[in-house]
């Protein structure tokens, strides 16, 4: 802080020599002249003092029979004097600050967070329609109305937040993973006439627990794909046991079917890998208006290479986003090399692929009961063949057909 005040007022570095420099310093302090950075060397003394104090030295110099010479000049008063000779430079700095101030009043970056179901393009288009786009004045934004509009437009969005950070607007979104009321309504309309539950896989019924509808199978029954497991037509009987009418319901049940899944995986023994030569070329670039300008220009000259791009948005003072991206492109040369897996490694690769498939099935709620696979060599490849015995809820709803209902009409 003291440094800033000194800079604004201006200060000089002086050299003092002569009869009694010590008395010179004492008289300075007696007259409330602050000295700093005092250093002595070979009978001469150098020190700093304020610009206004410098003009009060004449009397002291005469009294102490010393001589004073100015070595350096610092501070704003001297800068202003120099600036008078470079008017255009000063005007340029002023214009630069004015331009920054002006540009900081507009939106130069839009950031979207948390959207999975609603795509970025959809949101950008919607924001543009709402008047939120690059180069829009910040003062024209009504964030609360924008939040409400997003929630209204996208039914999946349950919560939104729009906030301004410098020249960037950040839209945060939370989406609802559960089916929306509209989707539920559509589902209900689809099965308005009732629905049967049918098997999606051939197998054996391992368990059945019916909540709605009439079960057509029991535990241990073998079923084919498409077999009706639970009927959505519920008979209403008379006292004599005859069917008076059929009620249409959407069948609902927990049914586990034990079925077999075919597995067939092939791993070629021949493969190609990248042998990096260690040669690398790095280019700097900046992107403006969708075009990328690379320095030095020209091709890298490698036949086969990987390109790694590191891109950063240019930002002033960590706040003001500019519509310019800068970064580096690294081109790493490699030579494609043909190689062969031995059978052991190829088998390990096949096993790992099978494990991955099993993991994916388990994530979907499928239980693996038995794994019966074998690996055989066929020409230049290893083939994994076999079947997995699984327990899964392989059922779906199917609308009750017109034919069926006509036949059942009493």
């Amino acid at each position: 802080m003291i440094g800033i005040v000194r800079y604004l007022k201006g200060y000089v570095k002086i050299k003092v020599w002569g009869y009694s420099p010590e008395r010179f310093m004492n008289l300075c302090t007696n007259r409330h002249i602050v000295l700093w950075g005092v250093a002595g060397c070979n009978g001469c003394y150098t020190m700093y003092l304020g610009l206004s104090d410098f003009f009060a030295l004449r009397d002291i110099v005469r009294k102490t029979k010393t001589r004073v010479a100015v070595l350096e000049r610092h501070g704003l008063p001297f800068l202003m004097r120099d600036v008078r000779k470079r008017k255009m430079f000063a005007a340029g700095i002023g214009f630069c600050f004015f331009f920054l101030l002006l540009m900081s009043r507009f939106i130069w970056a839009i950031q979207l967070e948390g959207n999975l179901l609603v795509t970025d393009d959809e949101l950008y288009n919607f924001l543009a329609a709402q008047g939120v786009d690059y180069g829009v004045p910040k003062s024209s934004l009504k964030l609360e109305e924008l939040e409400a509009a997003i929630r209204e437009e996208f039914s999946q969005v349950t919560w939104t937040s729009a906030c301004l950070d410098g020249t960037r607007i950040t839209i945060q979104i939370k989406e609802n993973d559960l089916p929306t009321s509209q989707e539920r309504k559509q589902e209900a309309q689809k099965y308005e006439e009732g629905a049967d539950m049918v098997a999606l896989q051939s197998g054996v019924v391992a368990s059945i627990l019916t909540r709605a509808g009439v079960p057509q199978v029991k535990e241990g029954d073998a079923v084919e794909k498409g077999t009706v497991l639970v009927s959505g037509l519920v008979p209403v009987k008379n006292d004599d046991g005859t069917v008076r009418e059929w009620l249409r319901k959407v069948a609902d049940a927990d049914i586990m079917i034990q079925c077999e899944e075919e597995v067939s995986l092939t791993q070629q023994l021949a493969y190609q890998y990248k042998n990096y030569t260690g040669r690398e070329k790095t280019y700097h670039f900046f992107s403006l208006g969708g075009r990328r300008y690379r320095f030095p220009p020209g091709r890298c000259g490698f036949v086969s290479f990987d390109e790694v791009v590191e891109e950063n948005r240019l930002r002033l003072f960590g706040q003001i986003d500019l519509p310019v991206e800068t970064g580096t492109i690294s081109c790493r040369e490699y030579l494609p090399v043909d190689a062969m897996y031995d059978e052991q490694n190829a088998a390990a690769l096949l096993n790992s692929r099978l494990e991955k498939i099993i993991c994916q099935m388990e994530e979907k709620g499928v239980q693996i009961i038995q794994k019966d696979v074998k690996i055989v060599r066929k020409a230049n490849a290893l083939v994994m063949q076999g079947k997995l015995t699984v327990l899964e809820e392989a059922v779906s709803l199917q609308s009750i057909g017109e034919m069926e209902t006509d036949a059942l009409t009493p």
Binding site: P21, E22, M25, N26, C28, V34, G37, G40
Partner: protein
């Protein structure tokens, strides 16, 4: 007419001093204010802060002699520089080897 102090007068003045000191001590007044004693604060062997002095008597790269109210203070070392020098206090920087009261 000679103004030389007789031994008796010198002893009396010493007695007065001690009385004043006793008074300051008994009333618990700060000695630097009442007696004009210099305050020398030494930080490591690189910085010395001095308050309550009258002026600089001698300044070289190896020694700085200051005039206090009751005594002189010699600060010896090498590469001695005065970081700031005001009417109230001063800060000396350098490699300090010795501080003496003359």
């Amino acid at each position: 007419m000679s103004r030389k102090k007789t031994p008796a007068k010198a002893v009396k003045k010493e007695a007065e001093k001690s009385t004043r000191e006793k008074l300051v001590d008994s009333l618990r007044f700060p000695r630097d204010m009442m007696m004009g004693a210099s305050i020398v604060t030494v930080i490591g062997n690189g910085q010395v802060l001095v308050e309550n002095y009258r002026g600089i008597l001698e300044y070289t790269e190896c020694s700085i002699i200051l005039q206090g109210k009751s005594c002189r203070i010699a600060i010896c070392g090498c590469c001695l520089k005065i970081a700031y020098y005001t009417n109230e206090d001063m800060k000396i920087e350098g490699k300090i080897s010795e501080i003496r009261y003359l």
